[in-house]
């Protein structure tokens, strides 16, 4: 694997590592852009109005259970015969990837907006803000940490699934795994896998960096987070006192993954 990675001929040309990395990032970026364009407004709308929560949770749960490999193959078998140009295999992959990338973004955006404390929203309305202003100036900034967390988990999922999509002819680093498998070239497979892992971790680190840049210090400040945690715990205790129950799953803190937003 190491020898394969350090062979200069594997880094250049049409099937070279650089081209594959760029392809992988391009497909993932395009997918993420579409998923954000659909998931963010939907999540904001559902979070702000409270409408359609049950439908959203149902769709998100159902999509999570669907096997990605099956969807990719089904997508290619259904769509590619209809398309005659170069996109015949790429387009169905991108469509399936977008469908899978929407739920984490949408449910996290919803959860972020829904988790903004009622008093903070009331303060906004009390200052004479319109519903739209409260959404943009109060709910959105407060929800940003969770929203970005959703985008992060979505991005990782797309990078991972794009690897699988190489099986149905998508380019990118997954090609090394699939081609290596076909030719029994284990060094190539392992090197490709390592490159995907490195890419995923680098993207995750970059997105964490973006998160610290765009989240308002007023929201991300450690001091505030501690107060929030304390008040959340107090609220939870009050709630459980009232219901005479133990802590409910709904009150779990720090559930940044989309996965938890479905409750």
């Amino acid at each position: 694997m190491i020898a394969w990675l350090f062979d200069p001929s594997h880094w250049t040309g049409q099937t070279g590592i650089w081209i594959r990395v760029v392809e992988h990032l391009a497909y993932s970026g395009i997918t993420l852009a579409f998923a954000m364009a659909i998931g963010l407004p939907l999540g904001l709308y559902i979070g702000h109005t409270g409408r359609g929560r049950v439908v959203m949770a149902g769709i998100a749960n159902a999509l999570r259970a669907l096997p990605t490999l099956g969807l990719l193959i089904l997508g290619v078998l259904i769509i590619s015969p209809v398309i005659t140009n170069d996109l015949a295999f790429t387009l169905p992959c991108i469509i399936v990837l977008v469908i899978l990338a929407i739920p984490p973004i949408m449910t996290n955006t919803f959860a972020g907006v829904a988790a903004v404390p009622e008093e903070i929203k009331q303060a906004g309305y009390g200052m004479g803000m319109t519903s739209r202003q409260v959404l943009w100036q109060v709910e959105l900034p407060n929800a940003l940490p969770l929203i970005v967390a959703g985008i992060r988990s979505s991005a990782l999922q797309v990078i991972a699934t794009a690897t699988v999509a190489a099986y149905v002819s998508l380019g990118g680093l997954g090609r090394y795994l699939i081609d290596g498998l076909a030719t029994q070239d284990y060094a190539q497979m392992a090197a490709g896998s390592l490159l995907v892992v490195i890419l995923a971790v680098l993207v995750e680190i970059a997105l964490v960096g973006v998160q610290t840049l765009i989240v308002s210090p007023g929201v991300s400040a450690r001091k505030l987070r501690l107060t929030n945690a304390r008040s959340a715990r107090a609220a939870q205790r009050a709630e459980s006192d009232e219901r005479g129950t133990g802590p409910s799953a709904a009150g779990t803190s720090g559930t940044t993954d989309q996965e938890m937003a479905h409750r």
Binding site: A65, L66, T68, L69, A160, L194, Q236, R237, R243
Partner: protein
């Protein structure tokens, strides 16, 4: 012939029916094989989910008990979740010294994913146990392991089991990717369907995978109801 069916089924509803009959025949004649794949899928996704839960409990308890350990433990666990599954399936044999077709690779990979999800959930679930409850338990003489098993864990159960539901469903669907390496389970229906250019195995695979995910999910929901009788008594009132 199969390519013809795929092409014909795209052109209209009438030919879809014809394809449907062929599909039923295909399912009938391959029933034995499909059942065997299904059983493999249950084992290969069920064992890692259970094992992951058992391993996550002490790690999560450790992260919750020692403040300094929380952030590093959660960060490392979270980092594992960033690893793409197919890459992990391929790289694990290098780390473990196993063969690439060894089901052990898949089991360990899914245990890693389960841990990545559950360690945080266990720590946060235990953190949500009210201080008064802990004090009451201590005052009644409940100590260390006994308190953990009979007081902390049942109270944290709803949170932990909510996480386990996510992990079990994720494991069922991640496992199908292992078909690309030729490890027998329901994902093979997808690769077979792709090679034959034939919908029936793919749709059967998707339906069975989703069905299994719902079965696991249902089992955990029932387990939660059994483990938290106090919750049911009150929530019925609240929702009524």
């Amino acid at each position: 012939m199969t390519a013809g069916i795929a092409a014909a089924s795209l052109s209209g509803g009438a030919s879809l029916n014809a394809a449907g009959n062929v599909s039923l025949n295909w399912l009938g004649s391959n029933a034995g094989e499909i059942v065997s794949m299904f059983v493999h899928h249950i084992v290969l996704s069920g064992i890692p989910t259970l094992a992951g839960l058992i391993i996550a409990l002490p790690i999560g308890a450790f992260a919750n008990r020692y403040r300094w350990a929380y952030t590093p433990t959660i960060t490392i666990a979270g980092l594992f979740y960033t690893l793409p599954s197919l890459a992990v399936f391929v790289l694990l044999p290098l780390v473990l010294g196993t063969k690439i077709l060894d089901p052990l690779n898949v089991i360990i990979a899914l245990i890693i994913y389960t841990l990545a999800l559950l360690v945080r959930v266990v720590a946060d679930g235990l953190a949500s146990v009210p201080e008064e409850t802990v004090q009451a338990a201590e005052a009644m003489g409940y100590r260390s392991v006994r308190r953990f098993l009979t007081v902390d864990l049942p109270i944290a159960a709803p949170v932990i089991l909510a996480g386990l539901r996510v992990a079990s469903v994720a494991n069922v669907s991640i496992l199908s990717v292992a078909a690309l390496l030729g490890i027998p389970q329901l994902g093979q229906l997808f690769t077979e369907g792709f090679q034959l250019d034939f919908y029936a195995p793919i749709i059967a695979g998707i339906v069975l995978t989703v069905f299994l995910a719902f079965v696991f999910d249902g089992i955990i929901v029932v387990a939660e109801r059994l483990m938290t009788p106090w919750k049911r008594a009150r929530t019925e009132e609240v929702t009524a």
